[in-house]
């Protein structure tokens, strides 16, 4: 029973990772940029919500109404000032620029808020500690389920946007071939900035759930970036639903690992990540070659 409980908790944890990773996946798919400041931006969102809760007694989920548009604007500015330039300069520059940005943001937060760990859990009452009890003595937290549901909803929303809306078509066209997109009337620059804004909106939401489910401090960003990145890569870079799967695999691996050893939580996650990477690089290629050789024999 313990294992089933762990797997279930891992699944729900995966929902959080998918939520966190959705923005990273979206930006990589659309802009071909890996934003190393991703985790730090989620932490910025968490701090904004904390300020609203602490000063104005605003419930975090209500606080999102203000923070999401703010982060969207920040994303738009981020693209215009930093990402647009760096994308033109070659593949290395976006990595360096966003890494520098992450360092700046982490340390500015430290300047502003100090080293204390914070959490939004005190501001959400039962949502934070209430749970349903399933047969077999398995307890499932309200917050975990809500996180998972929000992750699925967000990923679904992004999917619908990209596949079934005019803006989505423009985003995909500009992502594939910005020059030709211009030729049919798509303002590629503007579309890329909008895509960044959309990604930042998901980061804002992720930051809220990060703060509600656990504690955070100015240097939480990098760890979150790594989790998001692992979820994206495990599920297959460029696929939105793959990110959900990747998040779940990571969550389950971590939960199972925690059962084995207290350090196992993180180690299992990283090990599974590297394992999937290896498998994709060697085994997947090998399987494809094996199938091809079968066809050649049959011919």
């Amino acid at each position: 029973m313990i294992w089933i409980n762990q797997i279930l908790q891992g699944l729900l944890l995966g929902g959080y990772y998918a939520l966190l990773a959705s923005g990273l996946s979206f930006m990589f798919g659309v802009l071909r940029i890996i934003n190393l400041a991703h985790g730090s931006l989620a932490v910025v969102s968490a701090y904004l919500l904390f300020v609203l809760a602490d000063r104005f007694d605003l419930h975090p989920l209500l606080g999102l109404i203000a923070v999401v548009p703010l982060m969207a604007l920040a994303g738009w500015v981020l693209h215009r000032l930093v990402l647009e330039r760096s994308a033109r300069a070659g593949a290395l520059v976006p990595i360096l620029a966003t890494f520098g940005l992450a360092i700046v943001m982490d340390n500015v937060l430290f300047e502003g808020f100090g080293a204390d760990t914070r959490s939004l859990a005190p501001y959400i009452d039962t949502l934070g500690y209430g749970s349903w009890t399933l047969p077999g003595d398995i307890s499932v937290g309200y917050l975990s389920v809500l996180t998972f549901a929000v992750a699925v909803a967000l990923l679904g929303g992004l999917h619908l946007l990209l596949r079934h809306s005019a803006l989505g078509r423009r985003i995909r066209a500009a992502a594939e071939d910005p020059d030709t997109a211009q030729l049919v009337g798509v303002d590629a620059r503007s579309v890329h900035a909008i895509a960044t804004a959309i990604a930042m909106m998901t980061v804002a939401v992720a930051g809220a759930f990060l703060a509600m489910r656990s504690t955070f401090d100015p240097y939480t960003g990098p760890q979150q970036l790594i989790f998001a990145f692992e979820a994206v890569v495990i599920g297959g870079a460029g696929s939105l639903w793959g990110t959900l799967l990747g998040g779940i695999v990571l969550g389950v691996a971590q939960s199972v690992g925690a059962q084995i050893n207290p350090q196992g939580f993180l180690i299992a996650g990283h090990a599974v990540f590297l394992g999937v990477l290896l498998a994709r690089l060697y085994v997947a290629g090998g399987i494809v070659r094996w199938i091809r050789s079968l066809r050649a024999h049959a011919a």
Binding site: A173, E176, L183, V186
Partner: protein
């Protein structure tokens, strides 16, 4: 006043001049063909007019307005549309999506999905297919149809028959006849000289980035045009006639 006026236009690839001091006017309803050997600068000229290649100097005036500094998508909104060399479809998107995204020009006009499918009926069964999976001829049809969906005032066609079988090219030009009969202004680059002389009103010969000859299609012969391909001032002579 001409619909499109190009004055003293220069464009470069890095430091190499590709388009040198070109003057060109296109009236509304005219059909102009650019001919010349590879490397003559025809594609670069079209791309510079469309706005995807920067002009080093000179001016481009469209419908009385100076568009030289405008980005490509704004020129598309004004009615300049280019079907680029090599088709350049959004291969990961479906045919329908490729066509619909061209509505981003925001222009009103006779061309919509139904009208375009009437001109290119071979595309109807392929609407849901991935653009990258189509044959060369079908892809070219999508590329031209996509250009039409922007409801352009002037259509720039760059080597639309390149790499296609004669049957496919014929099919393409059958579809284009609709466009031409509507009186749309067209500037085309085409290697097939016979077809060019039939379709165009005016021929502009380019060599090494400059215009070397201009004439009415009805008055020029194939031999004269080919002469300008290689830079001879007079028409090509039969080797037997060249002996004193």
């Amino acid at each position: 006043m001409s619909l499109l006026e190009v004055r003293s236009l220069e464009a470069r690839h890095g430091l190499l001049p590709a388009v040198r001091d070109i003057d060109l006017s296109v009236d509304e309803g005219e059909r102009v063909a650019l001919v010349g050997a590879n490397g003559a600068g025809k594609t670069t000229l079209l791309r510079t007019i469309a706005g995807v290649h920067p002009a080093a100097s000179g001016r481009i005036v469209f419908d009385g307005k100076d568009v030289t500094a405008l980005p490509a998508h704004r020129r598309c909104a004004m009615g300049i549309a280019l079907t680029p060399e090599g088709r350049r479809l959004f291969v990961e998107m479906t045919v329908r999506e490729n066509l619909l995204v061209a509505r981003s020009s925001g222009r009103a006009g006779p061309w919509n999905l139904e009208a375009v499918l009437q001109a290119f009926p071979q595309l109807e069964p392929k609407l849901g297919a991935r653009a990258g999976d189509l044959s060369g001829g079908q892809q070219q049809a999508v590329a031209i149809a996509r250009t039409l969906m922007t409801n352009p005032r002037i259509v720039l066609l760059d080597e639309v028959s390149l790499g296609l079988s004669p049957i496919a090219v014929q099919g393409l030009y059958d579809s284009l006849r609709v466009l031409l009969e509507m009186g749309t202004t067209v500037v085309l680059v085409e290697q097939d000289l016979q077809r060019t002389l039939r379709v165009a009103d005016r021929i502009v010969c380019m060599l090494e980035g400059a215009v070397v000859a201009v004439g009415r299609a009805a008055e020029m012969t194939r031999e004269q045009v080919m002469g300008h391909y290689f830079g001879s001032r007079s028409s090509v002579q039969h080797p037997a006639e060249a002996r004193p």
